[in-house]
Amino acid sequence: MATATLDRPVPSALSLLRLDGVRLGYRTRDGLHVAVEDATFAVGAREKIVVIGPSGCGKSTLLRAVAGLSRPLAGTIEVDGATALRPGPDRAVVFQEFDQLLPWRTVLGNVVYPLRVNGRGRREATERAMRFLELTHLAGSADRHPHELSGGMKQRVAIARALALEPRILLMDEPFGSLDAITRQRLQAELNRIVAETGVTLLFVTHSIEEALVLGDRVVVFSPAPSHVVEVVDVRRLGGPATTEYSEMRGRLRMLLAVDREELVDANALL
């Protein structure tokens, strides 16, 4: 059912990331809890894909599986045709939590360290890190420690750290979810600029429709758990938030998110 709703199936050779029948869950005291029943979609190179779904639908679990942090119960996750099961710098992750930076390293140290781990020389790593800190407007804070930064700055360091690794895919798990509305909007705009400048492929998880519309080329909508892909929606050529297309699309996503739930009626009323 999920595959049938893919509006633009991308041939395997052209897609960077392919998920096929991916089933995800974890063991609890009461047995197996399936969060994702069937995730099937593909991400092309340089595409910006936003995964959206109600809380608990397993979208973070899905991102962790793509990162290689957990294994699917069934199905395959392919990056560049290879089944990606081990974590690696080709799929750098930005998490939601502010504690994702190493507190004992400076801002610069946090960006340099993963580069050094991956075999770059000290000078090259430092130059590279500084370039990405400039890109994220953090060059002036290079020598500060994470606890001296605001939440928004910490997330920007995490983005710089991930991008400096030159990943094939940048994975982001609600990175702006804990920020205030103004900072969130500013970082969304900044992320759009940075992604455009670096040409990185983006897989972004959120539960906010507005965020999906601001950031995504296509939006993959998940149903509540045990979830499947409800629809993949192209949101590329929408106008600004004031346009009719935008509000129509927002209404459509709202309705898709309400599928399988009683809220469907309310969502229809909204349209």
Partner: protein
């Protein structure tokens, strides 16, 4: 701590001078026997001459050497327990059980057993002090490892760290605040146990520590020396506290992992 002003230190110095003054006044006016209570002046004299002729330096050195040796052994054993508890569930249970039983024990209670096993020898003291240091270190280290943020471990994995480097580069520094707290407590326990052990049974051979020094002074009614020994112990205690405090300030406090 860093921001404390000079006026703060001045206040403390004045307070200390005042206390010494009260002490001096008490000795001068109460006509208490000098065999029972030494004046600040006598104490200072005994302290200075003790350090000058080596009769105080020797015991201090012995105490520190035994303490360091015991601390090293305690640290090693604690690390062993921590690794074991990090790797296996049985190890976790074992450590929990052992710390629940042994940590509340005052360290010096194993001294009689240690004397039975090792004889009247410094090894008995080393054993007793090591025993006192193991549990606070083990408890704090394993707590430190258990409370490391899962997010930074996940970050470590996604940037391509090996299992070993996750331990050395992520888990150990992340557990540092707990580790330092454990070392601090262990050092304090060890220090107390060390002096108490020596006071209880003196020492074998010619080389005694500070506890033994005080005990001997008591035997010969050299009361100023008892006071000089106490002052030495207090000064060393203050010194260790500041060393640990400094170590914390340049690491975990600077990194915002612990507030001063």
């Amino acid at each position: 701590m860093r921001t404390l002003s000079s006026s703060h230190w001045l206040r403390k110095a004045l307070l200390l001078a005042l206390l010494v003054g009260v002490w001096e006044a008490y000795v001068a006016t109460s006509h208490i026997s000098h065999l029972l209570f030494a004046s600040p002046w006598q104490t200072a004299h005994a302290f200075a001459s003790g350090w000058a002729d080596g009769s105080l330096a020797g015991p201090t050195w012995t105490t520190l050497r035994i303490l360091l040796e015991a601390f090293g052994i305690g640290l090693g054993v604690a690390l062993g327990f921590t690794v074991l508890s990090a790797l296996t569930t049985l190890g976790t249970d074992l450590l929990e059980l052992l710390t629940a039983v042994f940590n509340p024990l005052p360290g010096v209670v194993v001294l009689p057993l240690a004397m039975l096993w090792f004889g009247i020898d410094t090894s008995a003291i080393v054993f007793t002090v090591a025993f006192a240091t193991i549990w606070p270190i083990a408890i704090n280290l394993s707590m430190g490892f258990r409370t490391v943020s899962q997010t930074i471990v996940a970050v470590g994995r996604t940037i391509g760290l090996s299992r070993l480097r996750i331990v050395t580069d992520v888990l150990i520094p992340a557990a540092l605040p707990h580790a330092v707290a454990g070392l601090k407590t262990a050092w304090a326990f060890g220090w107390r146990t060390m002096i108490a052990s020596e006071l209880v049974f003196g020492v074998a051979g010619s080389k005694g520590g500070l506890g033994n020094y005080i005990n001997n002074a008591r035997l010969y009614f050299l009361t100023p020396r008892i006071f000089a020994g106490l002052v030495t112990i207090a000064l060393l205690g203050v010194m260790f506290e500041s060393v640990f405090g400094l170590a914390e300030r340049v690491t975990v406090v600077r990194w915002g992992m612990k507030h001063s």
